[in-house]
């Protein structure tokens, strides 16, 4: 004969079963899934397309010429990023955005989720975006990085493969004042080939003079087969104590690009009185402010533009003033040194920033750039 279970035992069993039901957190309706393919139809009005795994693209108004279906795919082979970006690819940020051949009329904003905790502190200021269309170059302009949320934000100008990269084409800004340059004597003057005052050793049809040993040249870049700035000793950067105090000591320049030539002529008492040429420095200055990494564009160009395309020069010790350039009168510190069988000219440019203080006064802070030109 079957016994009826005691009511108490039934209750206890029920209670035990219920008490075991401790709840777990509810899932979001869009849990990150690498197999998910997301799509949005966007038109000239712009809009957003995103992937829950950590990519969001914002197309501004006018970026697309016509209505287009934008697709985001997570590549199955996350090691297979096309091309060879200069740096360490963060493969978990590799997405493919289609259609690849789509022409963008404006840059689009791209946000990628990066695990900030997995990055070394020095890597956090070196992040950029890799896209195949820009070759080996990494897009670093206007990039910001939220260290708390891990959102890396920048712009790209084409679709296709995109990923975050820790750039290795970087020059660290030295957190100290630069050493004083020693000035020096140019070989033209020392060799005794300098022409009389007002004349030149050689002259072109418009009367421009040439020095006997030719112009000083500088070229380094982050693109093509040109030597890189960071390991060639072509460029050095320094910051004044005011910059370190205000912005922090960890500053770098990404994608530095330097090109230029300077030719000195018309020596008087061993000192040049004329110069011809130009210098261009570009790059992205990156600094961590608080919990965010911010970018600033470095773009400094000057061209001599006086009579015959040159400029009068006055030199005093280690200081040289170029009186007619595209940016007005420029005074630069310099040093001339022998370099192997040639000669090296170090010129120091500077960028002065006025920082406002709490009381409304201002404080000057200076960033120094040393360029080594050779001939």
């Amino acid at each position: 004969m079957m016994r009826t279970p005691p009511t108490f035992a039934v209750c206890m069993t029920l209670v035990a079963a219920l008490s075991a039901c401790d709840q777990w957190s509810q899932d979001l309706p869009f849990e990150p899934d690498p197999l998910l393919v997301t799509q949005q139809s966007l038109g000239p009005a712009g809009g957003l397309v995103s992937h829950p795994l950590g990519l969001s693209l914002e197309f501004p108004r006018g970026a697309l010429e016509r209505a287009t279906k934008i697709t985001i795919v997570v590549p199955l082979d996350r090691n297979g990023f096309p091309g060879s970006p200069e740096g360490r690819l963060l493969k978990e940020t590799y997405f493919s955005v289609l259609p690849v051949e789509l022409e963008l009329l404006k840059p689009i904003s791209v946000d990628v989720s990066v695990s900030a905790g997995d990055l070394e502190a020095e890597d956090q200021v070196r992040l950029g975006f890799a896209t195949p269309s820009s070759g080996a170059a990494i897009r670093t302009d206007g990039v910001s990085f939220d260290l708390t949320s891990g959102i890396l934000r920048g712009e790209v100008t084409s679709l296709g493969a995109m990923a975050a990269v820790v750039a290795d084409n970087v020059i660290a800004v030295r957190p100290e004042a630069p050493p004083t340059l020693e000035g020096g004597t140019f070989a033209d003057a020392a060799s005794g080939v300098a022409p009389p005052v007002g004349n030149a050793a050689r002259a072109d049809s418009i009367g421009r003079a040439y020095s006997a040993d030719g112009p000083f040249l500088v070229r380094c870049s982050h693109q093509g087969f040109v030597r890189r700035c960071f390991d060639s000793g072509t460029m050095d950067m320094w910051s004044s104590s005011e910059i370190q105090d205000r912005l922090g000591a960890q500053m770098v320049v990404l994608n530095p690009d330097v090109t230029g030539d300077l030719e000195f002529t018309n020596f008087v008492d061993g000192v040049p009185t004329r110069a011809y040429g130009s210098l261009t420095v570009t790059g992205t200055l990156r600094v961590q402010l608080g919990q965010a990494v911010t970018s600033f564009s470095v773009d400094d160009t000057f061209v001599t533009n006086g009579s015959s395309g040159g400029t009068d020069v006055t030199a005093d010790g280690n200081s040289m003033t170029l009186h007619s350039t595209s940016t007005g009168t420029r005074t630069i510190e310099f040093a001339v040194r022998p370099s192997g069988t040639g000669e090296q000219l170090v010129v120091r440019g500077s960028k002065t920033v006025e920082f406002e203080n709490e009381d409304g006064s201002t404080e000057s802070a200076t960033l120094f750039i040393d360029l080594r030109l050779r001939r």
């Binding site: 209670v15 219920l18 008490s19 039901c21 401790d22 709840q23 957190s25 509810q26 899932d27 979001l28 309706p29 869009f30 997301t38 799509q39 949005q40 809009g47 957003l48 397309v49 995103s50 992937h51 829950p52 950590g54 990519l55 969001s56 914002e58 946000d111 990628v112 989720s113 910001s144 939220d146 260290l147 708390t148 949320s149 891990g150 959102i151 205000r246 912005l247 922090g248 600094v287 402010l289 608080g290 919990q291 965010a292 911010t294 600033f296 920033v353 920082f355 406002e356 203080n357 709490e358």
Partner: protein, 448 residues
């Protein structure tokens, strides 16, 4: 920041009132100690076993009209008010007690109170239009309670409080950071049906079944400011994600032992079993602020910038994804164990000692503070004078007081309390609570 602080303060201070455990004004006047001697509707949500005690009531009806509690970690309430109104011109000493983890504000109010406060301030209603005050009634050994409750936790980084207090200082441009600045809020409507029964002559047991209707669950976050060094400008974005509905249930169990007619021991487990499902249709709002907004703008204008749109998981920002990550995290009720002893003297004086401990991961409670409370009530003609004292897990002490007026079966209860303390990790803690309620109680046979 100023807006956030103002809203939270207004929610908590504009009207009200009670509730570390969302209880009634009588308990609020005794620092939450009313448990072993809670009777009638007041026992429905805490210990349904008490519904069937010999000394219990035959019929009761009560309403906690308005109520709330605010607890501030890192500043006194006066300092908080100064921070809110400093508009960049405050005293630097306001930052002295704010810990590295930031200023934290926990507020709980009756849903109706949150609704009324939001309407007074002209800001979006965080309660999801909660429009019914808390009500409870019992008849003999059963009863029903309906409660709407809005709970909000806001954290503001020390650096952003500095910005609000002292205004934007270009010399500190490298220090401003949002860090963990965030807000989390939810409103639940609960329908609790309870019954009690004698197991033996001295032991009563009871259960309550609770249906939960989620009205609104909000998670908001401020992201790190972007800084334009050339122009010394600062801007930050903020996002909030919300779920506008949900369903759930909870089961409470309780037992009370009547050692003598004047001495009772009670034990209850709230949410012994529970589940909560939130709506998966989400809404997102985003906006951007600059340093002037954070320091001094009118909060209505700032809040007005947030316009919710339906969350499109294939067309949104990473800020929205990041904000949504914690939306459902532990968004359910924790299991809570309450144990207490109550003594009722022949003079009518009542003394109660109650301990509360939460278990599990659930976070849908005003706070998860484990606590021990001691309360006393003394009758004086038509008044009931109450006082209470509680120790809370984070080193906070709560002092409470209240008064009840009884004219026949009609009761009017007022309760309030003050919290203060200094936790080893969190810095100073200050809090304020108040509540007001009305009740009709008809005593049953054998009431002591």
């Amino acid at each position: 920041m100023r807006s956030l602080l103002f809203l939270v303060c207004a929610l908590a201070l504009a009207s009200n009132a009670s509730a570390q455990s969302g209880l009634w004004p009588r308990s609020n006047g005794m620092a939450g100690a009313d448990f072993a001697l809670a009777r009638g509707f007041a026992s429905l949500e805490s210990n349904p076993a008490n519904l069937f005690l010999d000394d219990s009531v035959a019929f009761s009806f009560g309403s906690s009209v308005h109520g709330g509690r605010v607890v501030v970690t890192g500043a006194s309430l006066f300092d908080l008010a100064d921070i809110v109104t400093s508009a960049g011109l405050g005293s630097s000493t306001l930052l002295d007690d704010i810990p590295e983890g930031g200023l934290r504000i926990d507020a709980v109010t009756e849903g109706l109170t949150a609704n009324v406060a939001a309407e007074m301030l002209g800001v979006p209603d965080p309660s999801g239009r909660a429009d019914v005050p808390t009500l409870g009634f019992t008849y003999k050994n059963g009863g029903l309670a309906i409660r709407q409750r809005t709970i909000m936790t806001a954290i503001v980084s020390r650096e952003l409080v500095d910005l609000a207090v002292n205004g934007f200082n270009p010399e500190q441009i490298n220090e401003y950071a949002a860090k963990n600045t965030s807000v989390r809020s939810f409103t639940l409507t609960s329908f609790t049906f309870g019954m009690g029964k004698h197991l033996t002559e001295r032991v009563a047991a009871g259960f309550s079944v609770r249906y939960l209707s989620g009205r609104k669950l909000i998670n908001g976050r401020v992201f790190e400011p972007e800084i334009d060094v050339d122009n010394e400008l600062l801007s930050a974005s903020a996002a909030s994600v919300e779920s506008r509905g949900g369903n759930g249930f909870g089961l409470d169990l309780g037992v009370t032992y009547e050692h003598r007619p004047e001495l009772f021991f009670s034990l209850a487990i709230q949410n012994f079993a529970q589940r909560m499902w939130w709506s998966e249709t989400l809404w997102v709002s985003q906006s951007t602020f600059d340093q002037d907004d954070i320091g001094s703008s009118d909060m209505r204008e700032l809040i007005g910038r947030f316009n919710a749109t339906e969350f499109d998981a294939q067309g949104t920002t990473l800020e929205a994804y990041a904000t949504s990550k914690r939306l459902f995290k532990n968004a359910f009720l924790p299991r809570t164990v309450i144990a207490g002893v109550g003594y009722r003297a022949s003079t009518g004086t009542e003394i109660q000692l109650t301990g509360t401990k939460a278990w599990g991961r659930g976070t849908l409670v005003p706070s998860r503070l484990d606590r021990v409370a001691l309360g006393i009530q003394h009758p004086l003609t038509i008044t009931r004078l109450r006082a209470g004292f509680a120790f809370e897990e984070n080193g906070t002490r709560q002092f409470a007081g209240g008064v009840g007026f009884e004219i026949g079966s009609l009761k009017l209860d007022l309760g309030g309390g003050w919290s203060s303390g200094r936790g080893s990790m969190a810095g100073i803690v200050h809090g304020l609570s108040a509540s007001v309620g009305l009740a009709f109680i008809f005593l049953g046979d054998g009431v002591g």
